[in-house]
Amino acid sequence: MPAIDRSALLFLVFGVVSLWLGAFFGLLGAWQQVMPGLFDVIPFVKSRPLHVSLVISWIFMVAVGGVYHYLPLLVGRPMHSPRLVRVHLFLWMILGLAVLGSYMLGRFGGREYWEFPPALGGLIAVSWFLLVYNFFRTAMQGRGPWPAYLWMWATGVVFFLLTFLEAYSWLWPRDDANVVRDLTVQWKAYGALTGSWNMLVYGLALVVMERISGVTEYARSRTAFLLYALGFTNLLFGWAHHIYPVPSAPWLRYLAYGVSMTEWILLARMIRHWRHTLDGAQRHQHVLAAHFLYASEAWVFLNLGLALLISIPAINLFTHGTHITVAHAMGSTIGINTMILFAAIFHTVDRVHGDTGTRVQYVRLGFWLLNGGLVLFWLSLIGAGMIKGWYTLMSDLSFQDIMVMVRPFLMSFAAWGIVLFVGITLLAVHASWALLGPFLRSRPVPVDRSTEAYNR
């Protein structure tokens, strides 16, 4: 049984810390929106990028830590270079501090989320090269056609790097600089960047599902591969649904509309197979990880439905630029990504320690606060967006007048944010304690205690 790599676990721990800090700044930002001037030491112009960068770091830290953690188990060999994993971890810790420092000092990337002053962006690209290299050197050692999750991870690591670099292409001076092209290329990059981290996260979900069910055929089936290919197509060609109102070339918009609509297939499949999934849930009731996966399933359903609706241009006309976009962004990063990442964390904890620790009841409480809070949080944002979208298009009211009507919804959003934050705190404390246990108690390097066979 291979030893568990401590650096991979540390990625998870730092990820959890990042989530907690990120949620804190989110809560601050939410209250600053309804109470301007609140806590002026860190004004909204800083709390927002702190929030978004930290919570996205949570997704990347745990997704990448998950790859480093599970890949050796899946391939049956250690990582090609464990030292590069440590270098990567070290680089990211330095980068994390540098980003926090630069935001606090008021130095921003200033374009979109996960956008930093170019020097820091360059370092992130370098650190990512290490991952790409180490990933392929390790994954190529396995035999036979790849299971879907390896394709997903390969896609995630490569396309993150490509699109992250593309997002900085504005630095390249050109004589015919144009705002419309600037924005189009930006969203081409960011749409695919989001798709890339989703590939990492869904690959992780597939692995955890496979591990807790013991069923290894699915990830190697034709269906799994074709569904992956559908997701990949959407990553590559669906991004322009983010920029329908921008006067970019019309073919881009029609392409994105057409490609986005193929995802109804996924929704239809979910509805068809819903009952079976619940059957599966009963078999694994005792596993915390399974709870998080089933929660993510419900959120996939809700968010996919919302995403499909707002990808229809005639509906997007009303929802674009409103809080419905925020509902979409946080609904999926919290409801889907965060649930899957906690599933991976608690599955790892289970395996490393042989049990889930003693405070399962707190995890359950955190789970329900997070999910229950999120429902109302999400609905508040949708409400705010509907009001803003409708009155912006259908009335002559000014921005200020419309915001007066939106305000109660934003108050409700900020209030449910407190519940969410308490839930996240419970989960973060328990998860990091459980992950850190072996280090604090200076036990020998933990080994994989599960009896599952990892070799194909």
Binding site: G110, N198, Y202, A249, V300
Partner: protein
Amino acid sequence: MSYNMDLYRIDLSRIENMSHGRSTSFQGVHQRAIILVLVGLFAVQTALTWTSSTSVAPGRGSLSTQALIGRQLYQDHNCTACHQLYGLGGYMGPDLTNVTRAQGKGPDYARGIILHGTQLMPAQQVTPAEAGHLVAYLDAWASSGTYPIRSFDLTPWGTYLQMNDDARD
């Protein structure tokens, strides 16, 4: 965002059937061929997006030297945390796409707000000259089109035609 999470769903009943008999692995050659075709098409799309992705008339939305300085200032001061352009950005403040050309607003109005702030927007730490560059940048946006799209015709296919845009080709 790409929504392929359906992938990780394991439908146990079907999988048990699969393992009893039906072939479960999809040929590696087919897999690689599909990926290659997709990546090839993506390369074409990338080239087209970088070279000819706008539908605005020549000169519209182009960035002068002043406006380029303004773009850097807009980023340095993270205006995007609170403001949107074509509906993209943060949601605390209004969309700025057309502010320099909107009725009752204009360049001087924008410059005034940037320099002095309002009850809700903090005054920005910029010099009057820098405020001018920011306004030049915003004006490049204003010249490129109209947002929000208030005058439209919905089509039966779920798309819409914009009726109030004079900047398109």
